[in-house]
């Protein structure tokens, strides 16, 4: 489990903190969606959860980030890497820039861990197969399209086989087929026990893969709960998050005086999500 316990984070030189008292639990075998408007703190939360802030970025962190009960501050950088993997929104900057083939690029992370060669090959081929990018294996990563680079970057992350994954807009440059492949790979990883945090603007995708969803607003948790309930919450658009198509359709059907229940079982929420059973509203610190 990856836990953020009352986390405040301020970037170096910033006047105000970007994260304000965030409490979050990323449970084993769970896909947790993270939504919010621009500047809500989603990427910052990813960097903190992956141990890059403040370790690499600098800045000030208050509160604790725990990986399987161990305080992240007590772990060396490479020990964190073996437990938490992160993929950024821009795949071009995520490629190492030193490998001539996709195969070597995917192998780059596990090679850094000094794994036995046979295991390195097995992990690389397994990651390539998971995202069906085996046919790209001999291509130059720098000469791929943005979507292909994104799949390569995610494959490189999968090859590291971390117990916890943090994905910041992993499908931002993918077509529907690529998005489906990533969604399938994430579902398989979660089924194998990995915990996965996904920042995603496409709420339709989250509705399909996330068990729970958290909405951030100005660095605080504004909504948290089961995906279906949060994504149907009436307050979501006010937080700068587009509702999934099924929710919108259900709302329109309800407004037209018909029963919206058959539409994926999602009814538009007339009451705040926090009022529903099993949901908690984030309490700003």
């Amino acid at each position: 489990m990856l836990t953020l316990d009352a986390v405040w984070y301020r970037y170096p030189g910033a006047d105000a903190p970007t994260l304000r008292g965030v409490n979050l639990e990323l449970r084993d075998g769970e896909v947790l969606g993270l939504v919010g408007a621009n500047e809500a703190g989603k990427t910052t939360l990813c960097l903190v959860a992956a141990g890059l802030a403040p370790r690499t970025l600098g800045g000030t962190l208050q509160g604790r980030v725990l990986i399987d009960g161990t305080d992240m501050a007590a772990l060396a950088g490479h020990e964190v890497v073996e437990r938490v993997g992160i993929a950024f929104a821009n795949p071009a900057t995520q490629l190492s820039g030193v490998n001539r083939t996709v195969y070597e690029e995917v192998a780059f992370g596990p090679a850094n861990l000094g794994l036995p060669r046979l295991e390195l090959i097995e992990r690389t081929e397994s990651a390539l197969a998971a995202l069906r990018i085996g046919p790209l294996a001999d291509r130059d990563p720098a000469r791929l399209s943005g979507g292909q680079q994104q799949l390569v970057a995610i494959a490189g992350l999968l090859a590291l086989r971390p117990r916890h994954l943090v994905l910041d807009e992993p499908t931002s440059q993918l077509d529907p087929a690529g998005t489906r492949l990533v969604a399938e790979a994430l579902a398989r990883l979660a089924a194998d026990g990995a915990s996965i945090l996904v920042v995603e603007h496409r709420t339709d995708l989250l509705a399909g893969i996330a068990a729970r969803v958290v909405a951030l607003d100005a660095g605080r948790v504004a909504l948290e709960g089961p995906a279906d309930a949060v994504l149907a919450d009436a307050r979501l658009p006010a937080l700068g998050v587009a509702e999934p198509a099924s929710v919108r359709l259900a709302r329109l059907v309800a407004e037209a005086g018909h029963d919206p229940a058959p539409i994926r079982g999602l009814a538009p929420s007339a009451t705040p999500v926090a009022a529903r059973a099993g949901l908690e509203s984030g309490s700003p610190a």
Binding site: T93, F108, L113
Partner: protein, 264 residues
Amino acid sequence: MAAGAVPAFLGKPGPTPYHRLNPLTKLVAATSVALAAIILGDVAGPIALLAAGVVLPAVVARSLRALARAALLLTLPLALSILLVNLFFFPGGERVLLRIGPVAATLEGLAFGIEILLRLLAISGAITLFYLTTPVSELVIDLERRGVPARLAHVASASVQTVPAMVERAAAITAAQRARGLDTEGSPWRRLRGLLPLAGPVILGSIAEVEERAMALEARGFTRPGPRTLLWHPADSGWQRAARWSLLAGVVGLAAGRLGGWPG
């Protein structure tokens, strides 16, 4: 593919015998030619170096045309200025070939200019041939196998490969600024003025990218202490090891001879 074997495209042999040499052998050859060009005086030495150390390997590597084009592009402005400065301003030049107003072109200046030019061509040709026939990543893998720290090898490699990325970024920003009405054509002054709005986005964008890249490398275990696992490494052989040591010994011998007064 056999179990535990890497795909055949990794470490695929190069198209010519020169390409197939170990990267370190090619690096030592290029360095030896460059150093010898500095050590050797006169015209005959650099000509022999150019022929044996640059042109002949380039023919074997079927890269002579690419080499000539690159060498011309890289050295032409410098070569012209070296020739002109020495031709007209060589101190102590006596045999006048041509007089233009107050300055005179001298034979001594021409001879010295040609000597420097040949050295320059040998140095740039050797380095260019190395880059034309050796993927940087192969050199990095080979150096890593020999115990050079991975971080050092990759930083050097990434720096070389950052240049094309910056050129691409600059081209994209230029296109975007042009689409918004920026004039980057016309007189040199207008072109220079047009460059100013491009400098900020290119430099700041590159700095931001470096930060993201650093985080991505950190997240992929790059800073972990200890050796990395290598999937493959370029082939080496006993005769290449001997050739490398011979080349280095030859350069040391040349330097010693030069210091000792050879060729007189």
